[in-house]
Symmetry: C2
Subunit: 192 residues, 2 copies
């Protein structure tokens, strides 16, 4: 489990054994059951997450309806916007599956970053990378139809389609569950 975290970090900076044990001493690892809510609407939070195993999702409740906007699975890191902006959360974060993750809070990160300038660099590299990745994702979303987005998802994150309920996938694709059902039937028709 620790190795998964260190593998991830090694993509950005290299750590000495001392630094590794210092990191481990922070006691970051948590195990959470499916369905657990990590963050509620209206809450203020300072927590960032890194998923080691399992799947968490972000969803809004608008007009009484759940709108899922993001999934985070193995080796993905998440700092919710409300943590950056220091505002109450407008969304929920909950576990789609039993999940193992690290939880770190921003006070701790400020401290670690000033102690180890390396971490500052990692944070910059990571957020630059995530920003670039998300920009591409957003562009793809804007320039394609729901059907194309679904086909795209099959290519890029085939696991999600298996492990996540359809109604959550639907809003992730920007449509209603009924439309996703129909769209899938349409694709099957075309193939034959």
């Amino acid at each position: 489990m620790e190795d998964t975290l260190f593998d991830f970090i090694s993509k950005y900076i290299s750590l000495t054994e001392d630094e590794k044990s210092e990191l481990l001493s922070l006691d970051l690892f948590r195990s959470v059951k499916q369905g657990t809510t990590l963050l509620e609407e209206g809450q203020k939070s300072k927590n960032s997450y890194f998923v080691l195993k399992g799947c968490i999702r972000i969803y809004y409740v608008l007009d009484g309806e759940e709108k899922t906007t993001a999934f985070y699975t193995e080796m993905e890191a998440l700092t919710p916007p409300c943590v950056v902006n220091k505002t109450p959360s407008e969304y929920y974060i909950s576990c789609v599956e039993d999940t193992i993750l690290t939880v770190s809070n921003s006070d701790m990160e400020v401290e670690t970053n000033s102690k180890f300038p390396k971490f500052e660099i990692m944070c910059r590299l990571l957020s630059e990378e995530l920003l670039a990745k998300q920009q591409i994702d957003f562009d793809e979303f804007k320039t394609s139809s729901p059907e194309q987005r679904y086909l795209n998802l099959i290519q890029k994150r085939p696991d999600l389609i298996q492990r996540v309920p359809q109604y959550q996938l639907a809003s992730y694709l920007g449509i209603k569950p009924q439309s996703l059902s129909r769209l899938r039937a349409r694709i099957l028709d075309k193939k034959s």
Copy 2:
């Protein structure tokens, strides 16, 4: 003009006079005419931009059609994903208006960041902020209809509707120009 840049920077870190003059010595400012292309599809680039005055846009050409996905106006910074990923660009960047901006390249930034750790911190803060902001924008896009997105745009960036051609706005909203025309007529109907 320099002051605009320093005002922006002061939101993240404070600079000494020496640091300011060092920055100015880098000769970052550029003036570009409307219609100028800053980046072409297929090109590799190391340039980041910060808009002081004017407006630039990102667009793709897909099936021979222009798809505009982003606008950057006064006091907005842009590091294209292709710079971060070191891959050839899949899109164009061009000037919607006569524009004054700063151009910096990533080699230069690496140098500056190691010389002034402050800059490293600013880069992290900035990309964290932009990531959070973009996440919210993406969520809003996913959870709303074209009409809601247009009404939302009127609230949040009313200037864009004035200064940018309709067909560019349309793809920015994820629809065709004809649909935007119709949508606007529909909104006017409702009001009366």
